[in-house]
């Protein structure tokens, strides 16, 4: 797949992060199995160019790291949600950005071309009815 915003390396890095945050199990597909990353441009379409540049650099770097290093980093950002210290605000911001992208794509109801199973909103039984007035 191609993105207007993220490089191939960055997409690979995002899939690695996505599978750590949202692995397969409990009846759910993993982030990469779902293929929701194909819709990344919907999430990033209004992000400032500067932020996209930083994201590309960060995800591109992670794509070259061993998975255990990426896991340590993700767990560190998760712990920062409830901790103090000089680095905590930056780690929390990173955590919010990664959760924002990964969880939004995962629960967007969208999937990749090759995925044939239920989407996560279907699995949790989420449905909405809103019929516009004529």
């Amino acid at each position: 797949m191609k993105s207007d915003y993220l490089s191939d390396k960055a997409l690979k890095g995002l899939n690695t992060i996505g599978d750590i945050m949202v692995p397969a199990g409990e009846g759910f597909p993993s982030f990469s199995e779902l293929g929701c990353i194909e819709h990344i441009d919907t999430v990033l379409c209004h992000a400032p160019a500067e932020d996209i540049q930083d994201l590309n650099a960060f995800l591109g770097l992670l794509s070259m790291c061993p998975k255990f290093i990426v896991r340590i980093l993700i767990n560190t950002t998760e712990k920062a949600r409830k901790s103090e210290g000089k680095l905590a605000p930056t780690l929390r911001l990173l955590n919010a950005a990664l959760r924002g992208i990964v969880f939004t794509l995962y629960y967007s109801g969208k999937h990749g071309k090759e995925y044939m199973g239920q989407t996560p909103p279907d699995i949790i039984g989420f449905e909405l009815k809103c019929v516009p007035e004529d």
Partner: protein
């Protein structure tokens, strides 16, 4: 040359533009966001966040502990809020008057304006038979623990929740023209009467030339300049303050960017054995109405969100994330909103981007803990088998940054909405709030906008 340019189309801007246009003035309404209507609002939660909000959905304070939701679309935050429209009480206005010396800060001072807004919009209370199960759990828990509750007063027309409609969808823009946003209540009417609207126009700064004001904007990567007799900033606490800071008014008015407050909201989830479906039907219909809570500085409301919103609050990642999300339909959620101290600041960094400092004071923390302990009690009494506390709190009511007052020493705007020392530049939105009222602010912002529009019409602007 316009008689008035209104910057921002939310609770204040929409009302101002409508009333000034109606009085015969030549008005331009500028909105930084896009022009969405009932038929064109984003269809899903995933599309709505980047399309309708700044920051791709959420912005954070400097410490990344508080998330702010700020709309960016025609109609502003009134498009994405829950249209909970209440008048302020004496507690709020008495504090404002004592803090600022502005004598019209009172229920009587705004009575004609409240009346006019309420005449223009539709209101409703959700009937008992149409409340969803989450609301019933909240009521059950409140009654069992001896606290008083009440129905929320909602600005809405025909939501048809009795026909199985799920009104949580309107947090992404109401597809039925039911929610009483300024788009539905004012802007569309004004548009039919000839109001000029320009969307995707971001105001960068302005230049006050004495008789007229030049307004500098960015639109599709191009610079645009407009000239007007009166400039009214109604871009909300962040937007208006950002424009004032870019105009370098901080040098002259030290109060610019100070006194930011936001009614911080803390969520708690009660997990029940049975299916609750808090997202179905009229998902927000009740609140606390206990006289003991007001002096303690908090209130409770029954709320929820769609899966993406709830997923962001997950206490874990990995398989535990899946286990948490499987509880989605079993959760009843209650929030405590705190009447916080106005100690926050809004500033610009070296790149001209907003930086928000909003640390909770000891009093704010104490109030939130007080409210959360009551929620825990209420949810447990209602039968929750597990209670989960959210670890991030939110600011949905963005207020302050350009407070109103009689003196330029400690305020930005005078009692006639004029920026101190400027005859033709005005501020009218939540940024002029001197402190947190502890009540949903939309209706009062609209009433203030009506007051200013009447004042300008009386002086025959245009």
């Amino acid at each position: 040359m316009y008689d008035a340019i209104v910057v921002g189309s939310g609770a204040a801007g929409g009302v101002l533009a409508y009333n000034l246009n109606k009085s015969g003035a030549k008005v331009l309404l500028l909105e930084a966001g896009k022009d969405f209507r009932a038929k064109t609002f984003p269809k899903t939660e995933a599309e709505a966040s980047p399309e309708l909000f700044y920051g791709g959905g959420i912005e954070f304070d400097k410490r990344t502990t508080m998330g702010f939701l700020r709309a960016r679309c025609l109609g502003g935050t009134t498009i994405v809020n829950q249209a909970l429209l209440d008048r302020f009480d004496d507690v709020a206005f008495d504090d404002w008057r004592a803090d600022t010396g502005v004598d019209w800060f009172s229920q009587d001072g705004l009575i004609r304006d409240y009346d006019a807004v309420e005449e223009k919009l539709e209101f409703t209370y959700i009937k008992e038979k149409h409340r969803n199960k989450s609301a019933h759990k909240f009521i059950d828990g409140m009654e069992k623990t001896g606290y008083e509750w009440g129905a929320l007063r909602r600005g809405q027309g025909n939501c048809a929740t009795d026909q199985g409609q799920d009104c949580i969808d309107c947090l992404n823009g109401c597809k039925r023209n039911s929610k009483q946003s300024t788009l539905v209540g004012y802007i569309q009417d004004a548009e039919r009467e000839g109001l000029e609207i320009k969307c995707d126009f971001s105001v960068e700064h302005f230049e006050d030339n004495g008789d007229t004001v030049k307004v500098y904007c960015r639109h599709s990567g191009q610079d645009k300049v407009f000239e007007t007799k009166k400039l009214i900033l109604s871009a909300g606490s962040f937007g208006t303050t950002q424009i004032l800071l870019k105009a370098e008014l901080k040098h002259r008015l030290s109060a610019v960017g100070t006194g930011f407050t936001t009614h911080p909201q803390f969520l708690m989830f009660g997990v029940f054995d049975e299916i609750i479906d808090a997202h179905k039907g009229a998902f927000q219909s009740v609140k606390s109405d206990d006289p003991r809570f007001r002096p303690r500085g908090f209130k409770l409301e029954n709320v929820y969100a769609q899966p993406i919103g709830i997923s962001q609050l997950s206490p874990a990642i990995g398989l535990d994330f899946h286990r948490y999300m499987m509880k989605y339909r079993h959760i009843s959620c209650v929030e405590v909103a705190v009447r916080d101290e106005a100690t926050g600041t809004i500033a610009l960094n070296s790149k001209g981007r907003l930086t928000i400092q909003k640390d909770l004071t000891d009093q704010d923390k104490s109030r939130s803990q007080d409210g959360l302990s009551i929620i825990r009690e209420v949810l447990s009494a209602a039968g929750a088998t597990e209670v989960i506390e959210g670890d991030i709190h939110f600011g949905l009511h963005l207020m302050g940054g350009a407070r109103m007052g009689v003196s330029a020493d400690d305020s930005v705007v005078d009692p006639e909405f004029k920026v101190h020392g400027m005859e033709n530049v005005m501020v009218c939105d939540s940024s002029l709030f001197p402190n947190a009222p502890g009540i949903n602010p939309s209706l009062t912002i609209m009433a203030m906008a009506h007051k200013l529009a009447t004042q300008l019409s009386d002086r025959k602007v245009g």
